[in-house]
Symmetry: C2
Subunit: 341 residues, 2 copies
DNA sequence: TCCCCCTAAGTTAGCGCTAACAATTAGTTT
DNA sequence: AAACTAATTGTTAGCGCTAACTTAGGGGGA
C-alpha cells in the first residue's frame, strides 16, 4: 500500500490530457462531471488519471473557484464529553460531504480569543464555520460579529441572527424528569452544570418546567460543575436532607458521583432513590446499577449542522434552526418511590 | 467587532500596492519580511494593508510555494481522554507555529480506512501529518506505507522507520509501581487497558519490569478495557481474593470503578488497599479520597510533535523520536500496607 | 439541398501570488 | 569622472486550474 508518489513532480492535468490524447479542459470536464463528454472520452481520461495517480491541485482549484472546500470548526472545552463528540459528529458529516475540516480550539472564551480564531479561519478562507462553544459568552460575541462566510452555531437557542443546530436540551431534561414523575416521584432534585454553559441552563429550565407542569416543587436545585466530585457532594447533601426520592443529574459524571454518595450513605439505588443522568456516555451502561440517562445524537447533530451550513452557503444566511431530539435510555437506576409501591 | 469584509471583492495585493504607491512585489516583500525593503516603504505598505484590511490569499500562495501551511492530524478514539487531549496539544502547538490543522478521525482502524484518510490529506496537500491512533494495528499499517510528506506518529515505540513523539508510558507505569514498592507493598496488581492499545501494552510492561526489579510477583494482571465498569469488576475480584495490598490501574476511570468496588467490599482506601490511577483527569483530584495518579503532559507532547514534524519537513524524514516524561501525582489513595505500619 | 442547432471538443484568459530577473538609485572606489 | 558595488524597487512569467468563448462535426427541418 502506497499513498503519495515517489516521482519528482506530481502529475498535472496537462499530463493526463496528453496521455489520454485530449485537451486539459476535457480532463477538467471529466473531473467536474460535466455532461458534454462522450462516454469513450470519459473512460480514456479516467484510465489515464488512474495510471498516473493524478490528483487535482486543491490550491489551483481554490484560486479560481474561490472556494476552499474547507469548513472551520471553532471549539472549546474539547476534553468534555459533549463538545468532543459534537466535534466528532460535525467532522464526520463534513468529510461525508466532501469538505475538509480545520479545527481551532479556544482555551478561553474571550472576545479577543474568538476574534483571533475567526481571523485564522478567514486567513484560510474557509467556506463556512461551525461553532461549538457551549457558553453564553460565545453567543454574545457571535451576535455582534458580522461574518463574511456562513456560520452555524451548535447548541445555542434559536435566534434569528444565528443559524443554529442543537440538541433539544429542554426536551431531554423533560424526558428525564417526566420519566421520574410518571414513576410516581414527587420530590425530584437536580444537580446542574455550571450555569454559564447554555446546555446546563437549558436542562435546568427543562427540569423546572416539567415539574411546574406536574405541579411539583422545584426547590431542590444544586449547582454542580459537571465533575464527578460535584455530583458526589450533591449526593451526600441529598442523602443528609433525606426527603427527595429522585435526582436528575445534568451529566453522567455527576450521576456517577451521586451514585457513590448514595451508596456511602446507605441509600440503595433505585429502591431508596432514583437517579437519571445525561449524555449516555459509554460507561453509563456499565455502572452498577446501569444508569438511566439521556442519549444525545451527536452524529445526527453533526449531520444537521453540515446540512444547514451547506444550505446557508448556497443561499446566504438563513437564521434557520435544526433541532435534534434526544431520547431517554431507561436502565436500572430508576424505579417507583417506596411510598408508591 | 467585525471580521471579514462587507465589500464586493476582497482587496488583493495590487490594491494595497496602488494605495501605498509601490509595486505588488514590494507588498509581497513586506509580507514575507524580506530584508531589502526600506523602513519608510515598509511602513507605508503596512499602513495600506491595515486600511484595506488586506489578507493574503492562501490558495494563490500555496499554488506558487507548493506548501499549504496545513498539517493533517489523523486520529481515532477521540472520545477517550488521552487521544482527545493529545489532539488538543498538537492542535495548539500547530497553531502557535502558524500552521492550519485539518482533522480526520477514524471510526475503525482498518487499512482501508487509513488509506482513505491519508488520501484525503494528500488531496488537501498537507505539508505534514501527525498520527494519533494508539493501536498496534496502526503501527503495522504505517510502516508499510511510503508517504510523500513527513509524518510523525504520536505514542508509538521508537522505530527507525517512523518519527515518533511519545509519552514514556513504561516510565509512567514504573513511577506508579515504584511508588507502591517504596511504600512497602509486595503484592501489587494491575488492571490494564485493552492490549491492542500500545499504551496499555507499555504500561503492562512497565508494571512487570518494575516488579521484576524489586523481585516481586507480577501474577495479578487483570484485563480491563479502560471503562469504569471493568475497573469495578477488577476491584471486586481483588477484594474477593484478598491478598493484594495495592492496585495500579491503567487509567483513572478504571481506578474510579475499583474505588467503588473496594468501598462496596468494605475495603478502605488507602488503609486496606492502595490505588494508583493513570492520566490525571480533572476529576482524579476530586475523588474521595483524591486519587494518586500519573500525569502525562499533553501540551508538551503536542509541542514536541510539531517540533519534530517541522524538523522532518525541513530536512526530510529523520526517524527520530522525542519522549516526554510523565510525572507521578501523589494524592491520598496510597499509603504503606498494614503489615508495614 | 441549405441552414440552423445541438453536442463534443479545443483555445484563451485569467484567479492572486512569488521567484527570478531587470532596472534604478545611491554610495564607493579608482 | 568613469566604473563598480550594493541596496532598493519594478517587471515578467508562470504555479494548475476553471469559466467563457470558439470551433468542428453531425443530425433534422424547410
Amino acid at each position: 500500500m502506497s499513498v503519495g508518489s515517489e516521482t519528482r513532480r506530481p502529475p498535472v492535468m496537462e499530463d493526463v490530457a496528453r496521455l489520454a490524447g485530449v485537451s486539459h479542459q476535457t480532463v477538467s470536464r471529466v473531473l467536474n462531471a460535466h455532461p458534454n463528454v462522450s462516454p469513450q472520452t470519459r473512460e480514456r481520461v479516467e484510465k489515464a488519471i488512474g495510471e498516473l495517480g493524478y490528483r487535482r491541485n486543491t490550491a489551483a482549484r481554490s484560486l479560481v473557484t474561490r472556494r476552499s472546500q474547507t469548513i472551520g470548526v471553532l471549539g472549546s472545552d474539547m476534553s468534555h464529553y459533549g463538545p468532543a463528540n459534537t466535534l466528532l459528529g460535525v467532522q464526520q458529516a463534513a468529510r461525508d460531504k466532501g469538505y475538509f475540516v480545520s479545527v481551532a480550539s479556544l482555551s478561553e472564551v474571550t472576545p479577543a480569543a474568538i476574534k483571533d480564531a475567526l481571523e485564522y479561519f478567514m486567513m484560510q478562507s474557509v467556506d463556512g464555520i461551525v461553532v461549538i462553544v457551549p457558553h453564553e459568552a460565545m453567543f454574545e460575541s457571535l451576535s455582534t460579529i458580522s461574518m463574511a462566510v456562513p456560520l452555524v452555531a451548535v447548541g445555542f437557542g434559536v435566534d434569528e441572527r444565528l443559524s443554529v443546530a442543537a440538541v433539544n436540551q429542554r426536551m431531554g431534561a423533560s424526558l428525564a424528569v417526566q420519566h421520574l414523575v410518571d414513576l410516581g416521584h414527587t420530590a425530584i432534585a437536580h444537580v446542574s452544570g455550571p450555569p454559564d454553559w447554555i446546555d446546563a441552563a437549558a436542562r435546568i429550565d427543562g427540569w423546572r418546567r416539567t415539574l411546574a407542569q406536574a405541579e411539583l416543587s422545584d426547590s431542590v436545585l444544586i449547582r454542580g460543575n459537571w465533575s464527578a466530585e460535584s455530583g458526589y457532594r450533591a449526593g451526600l447533601e441529598l442523602a443528609a436532607v433525606g426527603n427527595v426520592t429522585a435526582l436528575f443529574a445534568a451529566n453522567d459524571q455527576m450521576a456517577l458521583g451521586a451514585l457513590r454518595a448514595f451508596s456511602e450513605a446507605g441509600l440503595r439505588v433505585p429502591q431508596d432513590i432514583s437517579l437519571v443522568g445525561y449524555d449516555d456516555q459509554p460507561e453509563a451502561a456499565y455502572l452498577v446499577p446501569p444508569l438511566t440517562t439521556v442519549n444525545q445524537g451527536f452524529k445526527e447533530l453533526g449531520a444537521r449542522c453540515m446540512q444547514m451550513l451547506l444550505f446557508d452557503m448556497a443561499n446566504g444566511h438563513s437564521g434557520a434552526s435544526s433541532v435534534v431530539n434526544p431520547r431517554l435510555v431507561v436502565r436500572s437506576t430508576t424505579a417507583p418511590p417506596r411510598a408508591a409501591r
